[in-house]
Amino acid sequence: MNDETPTRILLVDDEPTLREPLAAYLARQGFAVTEAESAAAARSILIEQAPDLVLLDIMMPGEDGLSLCRHLTETRGLPVILLTAKSEPTDRIIGLEIGADDYVVKPFEPRELVARIRSVLRRSQRAATPIEETAFYSFEGWQLDPLKRKLTDPDGVVIPISTAEFRLLRALLDHPRQVLDRDRLLDMVQGREAHMFDRAVDNQVSRLRRKIEADSRSPEIIQTVRGGGYCLAADVRRIASGQS
């Protein structure tokens, strides 16, 4: 997909022991990588050139990654993937809330990082009008918080769902009352961690139905369409986060 002009990546990390081998690895994967050892260095590089994507370490001396991330997404509209040592969900949420497109926890599998870079680039090229990533989905009294990946039922009870179920549900919620065939669903849901979703779509749908349908054998929200596909039979509203 990057045959002619290589994708330009700005890698910002204060640790040369990680930055150098990672830059070399990404170069081998066909990316044009520029390195910066601090937020200040990154800012001066950004004046001269515009990368396609920024890989940004959160914990850095001086200006930290979150601050630079906010600047990049607000003023430049650049896609950002955060690199961090912390694996707490709250850290992930903060990162995504200030506009990062994705989040990778150290130590990461380099192949997975590449997959995510490609996925983020695909999304940023496709979505010219950025949907507000943080807005809640609301349907039939249910709510889905896309940042916390939290599904709550009409009584406000949290219904834990797996990552795969979250992606499937989100895909359905993004296209309410539209028939989505299995290939389309798989395409929308896959992407980041392919191995998480090599089970059939049907299997995920039936799991999701067990959690949100009153009677999973005669589903009303996620309906099966004859001829191979699924349809979310509900109206979906987006609610700005914070007023849940």
Binding site: K86, V157, E165, K211
Partner: protein
């Protein structure tokens, strides 16, 4: 019996102090009342005997027996008292003077009556002090109505009965100056032992009770109220590990110092905990960055088998590191627990394992909503399932209600754990097999972390060997037991 004792003996400082004080007061006042009462009785006795002696001595017949006789005016005084009838004195009451002294040759005591040696001795001493030493002294008591002299005077009997009541007794004191001679008999009203002296002391005791106990209650409340506040606060701190608004010093100096010391300690503990979090964050960062570098570098290893082994080792280290960091952080959850549907939680964790092709299944499960920290709960369940898969070949997850507890049970079909090792399994860095074999992975923190998470939710982690019908171990059951209410 023990329960009764418990109920009677209050547990609180206030109750115990007040009860002890009340008991001590009661004992002290009782002793004091008894002493007073005995003194009053002694005085009455003395007055009674004095009166009898006075009458006997005053009788003109003994004038020649006494060395200091005659004493002018003595007789007139007795005569003057005679008209007074029943006079109410302070101690023993005067008997009608008309019954002053009887002189008779007859034995004054009937055989059925008992003599009173103590009083005879006392009377003899009084008489001796006045110079009269009779051969015989007899003292007895008899009912007023059975005294022959009194009975012979109906009007006197009537008046005496009205004054002292129908069951009054008299003290009869008789002396015989010469052997075989004439008896002189004096009669004195024998007053019943009186309880009147107890009334003021009871009143006094009641007053002391009210005042002292009220004061004590007020003082103690100044101690117990800040203590109670301190207890509530300490419990809150122990539960959340978050310092709340500092408690203002109040109450007596000792309590103020305790509160100040507690505040200082709480601040210090909170500081240490914050420091620990910062330190753990730093450790995590400092170890994970080189691990990430290593993980990137091994991509250049040509040998695929070698590379995947390296990757697995790095994954192991990362998992252990995450367990250690989590264990240090559990209990300091930043978000409040959320009402969560546990069967969906169990299903979502089981599905993760299913998707990775692990032999994990969901057994019995029903809709149960409980406030939990979802991320932590998933973690605990994931650890139990990993253990079951690793040591027990397969895992089956059940969600059920057991009395006051909600049970998330993970059953495997492995060899179980020797009964004497079950306790040790919950300790950090313990693993099922004795060799610290890296192949089986993990730092041995999985169960410790699961237990810490269960305790964070007010519950517990229980490990039991499942027995089949023949009594043989059929596998291990690991249960997260959470309070239902």
């Amino acid at each position: 019996m023990a329960r009764l004792k418990l109920r009677l003996w209050p547990g609180s400082l206030l109750g115990q102090t007040l009860l002890a004080l009340a008991a001590a007061l009661l004992v002290a006042q009782s002793v004091s009342a008894m002493l007073l009462w005995r003194a009053a009785q002694g005085r009455m006795e003395q007055t009674m005997l004095n009166t009898a002696a006075f009458r006997l001595i005053g009788a003109p017949r003994f004038a020649h027996e006494r060395s200091d006789w005659p004493r002018p005016g003595m007789d007139q005084r007795i005569e003057g008292q005679r008209r007074g009838g029943f006079e109410r004195g302070s101690g023993a009451r005067e008997f009608p003077m008309s019954l002053r002294v009887e002189h008779t040759m007859q034995q004054p005591i009937r055989p059925s009556e008992t003599r009173m040696p103590d009083r005879e001795q006392a009377l003899r001493q009084i008489l001796a002090a006045e110079g009269l030493n009779p051969v015989t002294v007899l003292v007895t008591a008899r009912p007023l109505a059975s005294d022959p002299l009194v009975r012979s005077r109906p009007r006197l009997l009537g008046r005496a009965t009205r004054a002292y009541g129908p069951r009054a007794n008299i003290l009869v004191a008789a002396i015989q100056v010469r052997p075989g001679g004439e008896w002189s008999v004096a009669r004195v009203a024998l007053l019943p032992r009186r309880t009147g002296t107890l009334r003021p002391i009871i009143l006094q005791t009641a007053l002391i009770f009210v005042f002292l106990l009220t004061m004590q209650y007020l003082v103690l409340r100044r101690i117990t109220r800040p203590l109670k506040l301190l207890t509530t606060r300490t419990e809150h701190f122990a539960r959340t590990q978050e310092p709340s608004e500092p408690l203002g010093p109040r109450g007596p100096v000792d309590i103020r110092q305790l509160i100040l010391a507690h505040n200082a300690m709480e601040t210090r503990i909170a500081g240490l905990l914050d420091e620990k979090d910062v330190m753990l964050g730093a450790i995590g960062h400092d170890l994970k960055t080189p691990l990430a570098a290593l993980r990137v570098r091994i991509e250049s290893v040509e040998d695929d088998a070698e590379r995947s082994k390296m990757a697995a080792s790095i994954e192991d280290i990362t998992r252990s590191l995450d367990d250690i960091l989590s264990l240090a952080r559990v209990g300091r959850a930043s978000d409040p627990p959320e009402r969560t549907e546990l069967s969906a939680l169990a299903a979502s964790v089981v599905e993760e394992f299913e998707d990775m092709g692990e032999p994990v299944s969901l057994g019995e499960s029903s809709r149960i909503v409980l406030p939990v920290h979802v991320t932590w709960m998933r973690r605990a369940l994931r650890n139990l399932i990993s253990n079951a898969v690793r040591y027990g070949k397969s895992a089956k997850v059940n969600l059920l209600r057991d009395g006051p507890e909600i049970v998330l049970r993970v059953e495997d079909t492995g060899p179980g754990i020797a009964d004497d090792r079950i306790g040790a399994m919950l300790e950090p860095f313990t693993r099922g097999e004795t060799s610290r074999n890296r192949d089986t992975g993990g730092a041995g923190l999985g169960l410790t972390l699961a237990r810490a998470i269960a305790e964070q939710h007010g519950g517990r982690l229980v490990l039991i060997n499942r027995k089949d019908a023949a009594g043989k171990i059929a596998g291990l059951g690991a249960e997260l037991r959470l309070p239902a209410g």
